[in-house]
Symmetry: C2
Subunit: 427 residues, 2 copies
């Protein structure tokens, strides 16, 4: 399958782009379509690399708006966990499909997912045409470590059948929900089999206090001691990391994914210390966190939130610039997150075409326009591995995904009045 | 001119709405179109009241992305003020038309504008079909008080010809750019002729320090002493107000419009003390501030930013809820801002139809879905005074507005490469 885009604006000039076999075959001012190419007229669009969502729980689209305005632990204990006990693979499949729809629409092509029924999530990502690292989740505070480990291994086996676009990983939920023995076991499995590991770390101050009380050291040091701080580790949040922890994380080559909107919304009490992390050389990515706690999957909004909250916290409008923010959101500051090396011949044909005629982009320079003025609505077309997932705002099969996701939400007893009122029309 | 909407969802039920002569004539489950009505099939849409942008400098759309990532005073002195000296009425007209386009598209129907060449802005608002309070700006730090006062009176005269949808007001820029004598003169003119007054107040800590040094009291007390704290006063920002000032503002019946995104972006060092303002009984509205310092006019983004930053600053996820945030953004907590009393028979026919099929709205309850999950892209249709300004995302004449605004930006030497590259296509 080959594809050709003509007349798009790229770094100030008009270019053509051809993709073949999922890779960029040609890119430049003199590129012309070949017979058999799927054609996109790129006139009026801007070619940019796509966004990477470094941390989410995609299927939680189904819980969006359920328990808003509650603090983290109350939201989890009173709202999320009771519903999650009822979840079936089909819930995760359609919830993840819905999340993919929203991500494709707003320019995200790859995400790191941490959720139950991971094989169902992987099937959803595969069917949606996106890329993801889908991880087998682990929680053993209830003492059932053996069962949990077996389930994780089974999940890894099932994930091995996923398409190339999908990587498998391990996702211990957090240091306060997984035993030290299981963390060590995860570190061994990950090292032996080369899997990446995702874990929530240092999201709340209580987590730090509890960790010091239980283990005599702060979370990142504890994680290192159990063998889980490595170049294949993604740490979600990192809000309460101190300088020693940041230096250790940088030294070990682990990635911190910051989720500014979710952190502010749940009022975790602080902001990821980005300027100190940057100074220490930590690799950084950007995530939405789950749509249950954000409640959007439009990474453009999170980009802006990242820049705003870092400027505010540093008391310095220059604390983080637009170009830097754009690099973080496109995964350029953390290779583990899986972005292509760039829009270059031989690289994966993952890219966005943006609406140049949107006033948000027509005035002001990129990337400031992307970070401060745009929302995901500026995305015209989304392409992954040379396949067009959205063209001029249209995603094939979107109506069915929405209808089936609503059906699953109703089945979980989550039916919002709005969805119910429109059930017939939406189906 | 009459209009009928059928089958929209409103407060959980399907309703029809008829507008006649700019007012809501009928609203309820049994409303049917009449012969001659302009018809909108509301199936698949949600009827909600529209948004009010309480503080902006609309024509600064032309400066979007010019001088990003600079602190407030450097941005003003090095970037904005030199360009503003070249501004002509046609720049303000087309810049304001562009801003109106963006506001209509994202559901704002009324705004408070503070900018040069106010009569040109008023013409733009009139032609765009929106509502606004357009104010004659005053700055006399250069000592030319007489000239400035005459210009302001001339502007007020010119504004008196504007359509009913447009109110005139006075806009002393700030206590540090307008002399005490002129502030007193403005207070007299406003009181005598019944004009509202808009002023930037307590945006930076330096302003407070300078005010105490110069006048021996904090900004709100000083403003009160010169006669400018009244039920017809809108204070933009109020970031550094203390409890005594908040109590005085509440007592005088003035409004504070908070601009969370602009405050964070310019790193003014603090956040509007909303919980204390609420406790004191201060009337509060929401603004984007100018598109030069935000850089978006999509008030949905500012709603979310307001809720997030207040939760974060209070260290309490329940510090401000979605319903309260929605009330602020729709002007319900500050009658001076000019919102209709509600979607009721006899009230102005100003309303939005939202896309019920957008995943952001289909899951979760309103207003949480509006505040946390939605962007302006969920707006399907925008209606002001019974006239449809946008229908299914289409705004008549949008292409011309964009092309003419680009032309003016180029004329000011602001031409971004992007706009230049696409000049032919966009025209």
């Amino acid at each position: 399958m080959s594809l050709a885009v003509t007349g798009a604006l790229y770094q100030g000039e008009r270019v053509g782009l051809r993709a073949d076999n999922g890779l960029i075959a040609e890119l430049g001012p003199d590129v012309s379509p070949q017979p058999g190419d799927y054609l996109i007229d790129g006139a009026g669009t801007i070619l940019v690399p796509p966004l990477i969502n470094g941390h989410t729980h995609a299927a939680m689209t189904l819980f969006r708006g359920y328990g808003d305005d509650l603090p983290l632990m109350r939201w989890l204990e009173e709202k999320v966990w009771p519903i999650e006990r009822k979840l079936e693979p089909a819930d995760v499949y359609w919830g993840t499909r819905l999340a993919c729809l929203e991500m494709i629409r707003s320019g995200t092509v790859r995400f790191w997912d941490m959720y139950w029924h991971a094989p169902a999530a992987a099937r959803a990502v595969g069917d949606a045409g996106m890329r993801a690292t889908v991880a087998a989740p682990l929680i053993d505070v209830d003492g059932r470590s053996e069962q949990m480990r077996e389930a994780a291994l089974r999940t890894l086996d099932e994930l091995s059948d996923a398409p190339d676009r999908i990587d498998a990983g391990l996702a211990p939920h957090a240091i306060y929900t997984v035993s030290e023995a299981s963390l060590r076991w995860i570190a061994e499995v990950a090292a032996e089999r080369g899997f990446p590991v995702q874990i929530h770390l240092s999201e709340t101050e209580q987590e730090v206090i509890d960790c010091v009380a239980a283990h005599g050291e702060r979370p990142a040091l504890y994680l290192d001691r159990v063998g889980l701080l490595s170049p294949r580790t993604v740490l979600a949040h990192g809000v309460w990391l101190d300088d020693d922890e940041l230096e250790l994380i940088a030294e070990r080559g682990a990635v911190v994914v910051t989720n500014p909107v979710a952190n502010l919304k749940l009022a975790v009490g602080a902001v990821f210390p980005y300027p100190r992390a940057r100074a220490a050389g930590v690799q950084v990515g950007l995530g939405t966190d789950g749509p249950g706690s954000n409640n959007s999957l439009d990474l453009f909004a999170d980009m802006k939130a990242l820049a705003l909250i870092q400027k505010h916290t540093a008391n310095d409008a220059a604390a983080i610039g637009a170009a830097e923010t754009w690099e973080i959101a496109t995964g350029r500051r953390a290779p583990l997150l899986g972005a292509a090396d760039g829009l270059e011949v031989g690289q994966p044909a993952d890219f966005l075409l943006l609406r140049a005629g949107a006033p948000e982009l027509s005035f002001g320079e990129l990337p400031a326009a992307l970070v401060y003025a745009a929302s995901g609505a500026v995305v015209h077309s989304t392409v992954v591995a040379g396949r067009v997932l959205m063209r001029d705002g249209e995603i094939e099969g979107a109506g069915e995904v929405l209808a089936r996701a609503l059906e699953r939400a109703r089945g979980l007893g989550l039916a919002p009045p709005l969805a119910s009122a429109y059930a017939d029309e939406l189906a």
